[in-house]
């Protein structure tokens, strides 16, 4: 009775389905490594170059010894009022871009939510439209709108609105799909019309979600708006390109510091508001 149970050769073969999975697992790793190797060539990635550059970086930051003031530091705030005005315009662009996106996004989200969409065709088409809107980068859209309506903040606002509408509509529709069906049924049972079910059954339930997602996108729109000026779509971005092209790195540094502070303030403020939502 002592050793008989463990004396024989145990069967170490895993069951067939598991074996197949293990093989697939190994193939997947081979595939991932192959993908990484493929992606390496053509990108001119070079770590030696990065480290060689790092040694010179203090020169970039603080300027050449023989040319004082040619680096990024100390920042040059002489044109502060102008930068501030442009920073505020950047934030204004984000505000209106986000608001227009909400106005566009709410009806789209109703059509793109499984439980409120009138039928599967509308649902699918709206979903594809939203994919399309999200797929268009703000930057690319800004280029298009600059051509369409001219230079300035307005094309920037339109670019933000279109891209964000796609994102918000998708997020809102997820909120709609998560509503409590009991509350909906109760509103329906009063004899309410489909529109009334939306305004009195669905809407009260998704308000916190809508506000929270809107603020979240507003934060990221402020960040996005800071670079739209690079393509002439208004805001502080134009001043970054202008100063860097003119080798006025100290001015660029001042602008970047202002952007960082503004983004930090906006994020903190909106995070506070979002925390208070119930």
């Amino acid at each position: 009775m002592t050793n008989t149970g463990i004396a024989g050769t145990p069967n170490l073969e895993p069951p067939a389905p598991l074996k197949r999975r293990l093989l697939l697992n190994r193939l997947m790793w081979v595939g991932i490594v192959a993908l990484l190797i493929w992606a390496y060539f053509g990108t001119e990635m070079s770590f030696p170059r990065l480290f060689a550059g790092a040694g010179e970086s203090w020169k970039l930051l603080f300027g050449e010894a023989d040319r004082p003031g040619s680096g990024f530091f100390p920042p040059d705030f002489r044109r502060f009022p102008e930068y501030l005005e442009q920073m505020l315009i950047t934030i204004k662009m984000a505000i209106w871009g986000t608001l227009l996106a909400v106005i566009l996004g709410i009806p789209l989200s109703v059509l793109a939510a499984r439980n409120t969409s009138p039928n599967i065709v509308v649902y699918t088409l709206t979903r594809r439209l939203l994919d399309f809107l999200r797929g268009l980068n703000e930057f690319v859209l800004a280029l298009v709108f600059v051509v369409a309506v001219g230079l300035g903040p307005f094309p920037g606002i339109l670019a933000l609105a279109v891209h964000t509408a796609g994102i918000l509509a998708k997020l809102f529709s997820e909120g709609i799909e998560a509503v409590d069906t009991g509350q909906i049924e109760a509103v329906q049972a009063t004899g309410a019309s489909p529109l009334q079910v939306l305004t009195h059954g669905v809407w009260p339930q998704i308000v916190p979600h809508v506000v929270s997602m809107t603020l979240y996108r507003f934060e990221s729109n402020v960040r996005a708006a800071t670079v739209l000026g690079i393509v002439g779509a208004g805001g502080i971005g134009f001043y970054i390109t202008e100063s860097i092209r003119g080798f006025d790195f100290r001015a660029a540094c001042a602008i970047i510091i202002m952007i960082l502070i503004s983004v930090f303030l906006v994020d903190t403020l909106s995070a506070r508001v979002r925390q208070r939502l119930t």
Binding site: R114, V187, A189, G191, A192, S193, P194, Q196, Q205
Partner: protein, 275 residues
């Protein structure tokens, strides 16, 4: 007067919910629906207010046949039938008063309701119904801050605000403690007696059935098993109802409760906006 003629229904997954139901609800009865879980009680209620379209048979609300009528017609009929739910189903982020005002939606044009422009008459009616259920002091409190019993009373006020001819109460007390249960049942009985509004409710506790019911309808496996005054409901009948064998007993026990409404429309479409 509400009549069901040879009403049968099965869900999209093939589960049989109701088979060949013939019923007439008239006058101002306090009718209690009993039967084991999955017998089709909740489905029957939702057939009565048109939230579920039966696969076959006819549903008459007064002179209107609603089982095949367009959604718009059904909606207009539905205004006269209030519904009270097991889980109260108040819109949680609205105040008690706003929840009662939901009962007025069916009689309001869309633009007015979207802007929340309730008429003075509607607001007075809502406040009066809250008073009627003893919840006027809580009118401005958000629904999710109320206790279960309080929420259910607001739910009843919402049904009353529709000025209904019939109130359907789907297991109104199964989520409540004994004291709240009693208050809610007393309230429903009082509404039926004083306001002359017919009440159809389903209950699980036979004590409550004997206490409150005038007429009892028992459903078993989707068919009417008993229909008569509560005095004729003997212990033998209830024993057979809940423990007795039937041909398709095993399948009836397998039935789940009513699935979410959004999936068992006549069309099988998941949308509640579908006209």
């Amino acid at each position: 007067m509400i009549r069901l003629e040879q009403v049968s229904h099965q869900f999209a997954n093939g589960t049989r919910a109701l088979s060949d139901i013939n019923l007439a609800l008239s006058g101002q009865d306090f009718t209690v629906l009993i039967g084991p879980s999955g017998a089709g009680k909740s489905t029957l209620m939702r057939v009565l207010n048109g939230l579920v379209r039966p696969k076959s048979g006819k549903v008459w609300i007064g002179d209107t046949e609603i089982s095949r009528a367009p959604e718009r017609v059904v909606r207009l009929e539905r205004r006269r039938i209030g519904m009270v739910f097991q889980s109260f189903n108040l819109v949680k982020r609205l105040t008690a008063l706003e929840n009662v005002l939901l009962g007025r939606l069916g009689d309001m044009p869309g633009w007015r309701s979207t802007l929340r422009l309730y008429t003075k008459a509607d607001r007075s009616l809502a406040m009066n119904t809250l008073e009627r259920v003893g919840m006027a002091d809580f009118a401005w409190q958000r629904a999710d801050t109320l206790s279960g019993g309080q929420q259910q009373r607001v739910g009843i006020a919402r049904a009353l605000a529709q000025r209904p001819q019939l109130i359907l109460a789907d297991e109104p007390i199964s989520a409540l403690d004994p004291k709240s249960s009693e208050q809610v049942m007393e309230l429903l009985r009082d509404i039926q007696k004083r306001d002359g509004i017919a009440v159809l409710t389903n209950l699980h506790h036979l004590d409550a059935v004997r206490e409150y019911a005038g007429r009892v309808i028992a459903l078993k496996s989707g068919s009417v098993f008993f229909d008569g005054s509560v005095q004729r409901l003997t212990d033998e009948i209830t024993r057979d109802l809940y423990y007795g064998e039937t041909a398709d007993d095993s399948s009836s026990h397998a039935q789940s409760n009513v699935p979410a409404l959004s999936t068992d429309n006549q069309t099988g479409s998941p949308s509640f906006l579908l006209e």
